[in-house]
């Protein structure tokens, strides 16, 4: 059994496999299928200061080796979260991380302040990359100045581990990564979904109610991997990689490209037990090559 422990800033993970926000509910939805505590960490679904109904149906389109979603951050808001969900997920012994969203800097900051008080939440993931909301969201992640500003202000309000999640819908992702690192991000996670669209040729209308949506799944993996590789070279803080990871081999590619940990998203929909299979697969890979620790392959791409 190889050593799978990794560190994301102050956060020690028993293994490098986390779940991606918006694809794992709040964890409890998976209790019937797996022992959630075996995961390195879980990311709760995107939370906002106030209740959000999200976008109209249809919110999903299946596409070649992937899917488009246009959920639009449906959630009941942080008060509801603290009152109803937090007590329930506090039962988990693994780390629970909250994905923080806002449509203004003030909203991001207020939300971060509220979550800072929650004892059982050791980290937040600042989502500056949601393509499915009209105001804010991705705007923060695609504009260097705004990405800097929101990271700086949240950093002042939040004193635990701060992960910033980047959008791939930019021309140079390393620039954004360096900028948020300079403003105090403890870790960078990437990538969120790519903006895409699908058309129903029978009705000649867009499939999604919002016309465009976020593309995820294996279709985006090669681009995600390239971006993780670029960002890992640009920053010193640990990088969390995601985008189309379906199995342990995919995850290992991300480690070699420089990710310290990975997040599993869309794959959970197809196999709710996939995360545990990936942990097992990473372990077998390390054993097979006689590598004693996962950290020994992080960024070890041979050239």
């Amino acid at each position: 059994m190889a050593d799978l422990k990794v560190k994301i800033h102050n956060l020690e993970l028993k293994n490098p496999v986390m779940t991606a926000s918006g694809t794992f509910g709040n964890g409890t939805e998976f209790d019937d299928f797996i022992d959630v505590n075996q995961l390195g960490a879980i990311l709760c679904k995107g939370t906002t200061l106030h209740n959000r109904e999200g976008n109209d149906y249809p919110r999903m389109a299946e596409t070649p080796s992937g899917m488009l979603n246009a959920v639009g951050l449906q959630n009941k808001g942080v008060d509801y979260f603290i009152e109803h969900i937090y007590p329930e997920i506090s039962k988990y012994s693994t780390h629970v991380i909250i994905n923080v969203n806002g449509s203004s800097i003030e909203e991001y900051v207020s939300l971060a302040e509220r979550i800072n008080e929650l004892e059982n939440i050791p980290a937040i993931e600042l989502n500056i990359s949601c393509p499915n909301v009209k105001e804010g969201g991705m705007a923060f992640g695609t504009n260097l100045k705004m990405a800097e500003q929101v990271t700086r202000e949240v950093r002042k309000a939040y004193n635990k581990t701060l992960i910033v999640k980047l959008s791939p819908n930019v021309t140079c992702i390393s620039d954004i990564a360096r900028a948020v690192e300079a403003q105090g991000a403890d870790s960078i996670s990437l990538i969120n979904t790519f903006l895409g669209m699908a058309i129903n040729i029978e009705t000649q209308r867009p499939v999604l109610s919002t016309i465009t949506g976020g593309l995820s799944g294996p279709a985006i993996k090669p681009i995600a991997l390239r971006m993780v590789w670029q960002v890992a070279q640009a920053v010193k803080v640990p990088v969390i990689g995601m985008g189309g990871i379906m199995n342990a081999a995919d995850a290992i590619e991300f480690f070699l490209a420089g990710a310290t940990a990975v997040q599993i998203g869309t794959a959970n929909f197809i196999d709710p037990t996939v995360t545990l299979k990936i942990i097992e697969g990473i372990n077998s890979y390390l054993d097979k090559y006689n590598i004693s620790s996962i950290n020994d392959i992080v960024g070890k791409l041979q050239m």
Partner: protein, 258 residues
């Protein structure tokens, strides 16, 4: 029963007409109780173009033989591939999903309305309602005579009424044209599954009679167990997931303009 993800073995795959197949699947582990209206989410084997699972209502369960069946209508790549499954092949499924219909009381008079492949959940519903001792009436609608299947099986479970759009069998027109639905016949409850316009029309008539009506929605799904939030429908208390808080809804909770 708890939700489970496991491989099931095909024990039969019967073609019922030009585009409907009845798949019977055997579980290795003992099946827990499945509620009529619940569904299974099937991973289509050997169909790389079918990325996500495909949801199907539970058509029937045989607890003695430890099998469940689904009725598959071929409409695209995934369902076509399922129609080709052979005995002993394995398919991976997540089940049971969703909430299910509220079962009638003994001696209650109920009407089950199924349009097209919407008849699927009505078989298990009719069976269990009959066992409870309800007075079961079943209204089945399809385009044409050749689209009607399983009428004999339904007839064993209750009084069956038929409509076809072209009049080739039973009453001509949609299910909403049938007198059993239109003449207020004192049903305690109406249950309906089929295309949205049909369910809305049935709901409207039931409402005018003051009869409770439950419908089973078929929104497109990515996960089927409440985590992607893609399958929502508008209700009077906000957006709700069809896969967990449905697929069955009491019409009075939905924001339908009827």
């Amino acid at each position: 029963m708890k939700k489970t993800v496991c491989d099931l073995t095909v024990t039969s795959n019967i073609q019922l007409n030009h585009d409907n197949y009845l798949l019977r699947l055997h579980a290795d582990k003992k099946l827990g109780k499945i509620i009529p209206g619940q569904f299974v989410n099937i991973l289509v084997p050997g169909s790389p173009g079918t990325f996500l699972r495909r949801p199907f209502s539970v058509f029937d369960v045989n607890y003695d033989e430890n099998t469940l069946s689904v009725l598959v209508k071929t409409v695209g790549g995934g369902t076509h591939k399922l129609s080709l499954l052979e005995i002993n092949q394995r398919v991976n499924a997540i089940f049971p999903l969703g909430n299910g219909f509220s079962l009638p009381q003994k001696q209650e008079k109920i009407l089950l309305v199924g349009g097209g492949v919407g008849i699927a959940p009505m078989m298990i519903m009719a069976k269990e309602s009959k066992e409870i001792g309800a007075d079961v009436h079943i209204l089945l609608g399809a385009q044409s005579r050749r689209d009607h299947i399983l009428i004999d099986q339904f007839s064993e479970l209750g009084s069956v009424y038929i409509t076809t759009d072209d009049g080739s069998l039973g009453t001509k027109g949609f299910v909403t044209h049938h007198p059993v639905l239109n003449n207020n016949e004192g049903f305690n409850r109406v249950y309906c599954c089929g295309p949205d316009p049909m369910m809305k029309a049935v709901a409207k008539i039931s409402k005018s009679h003051g009869t409770e009506c439950e419908v089973s929605l078929e929104n497109t799904m990515a996960c089927g167990f409440g985590v992607c939030l893609c399958c929502v429908t508008k209700t009077k208390s906000g957006n709700k997931c069809v896969c967990t808080e449905g697929p069955v809804f009491n019409v009075k909770d939905l924001s339908w303009q009827i």
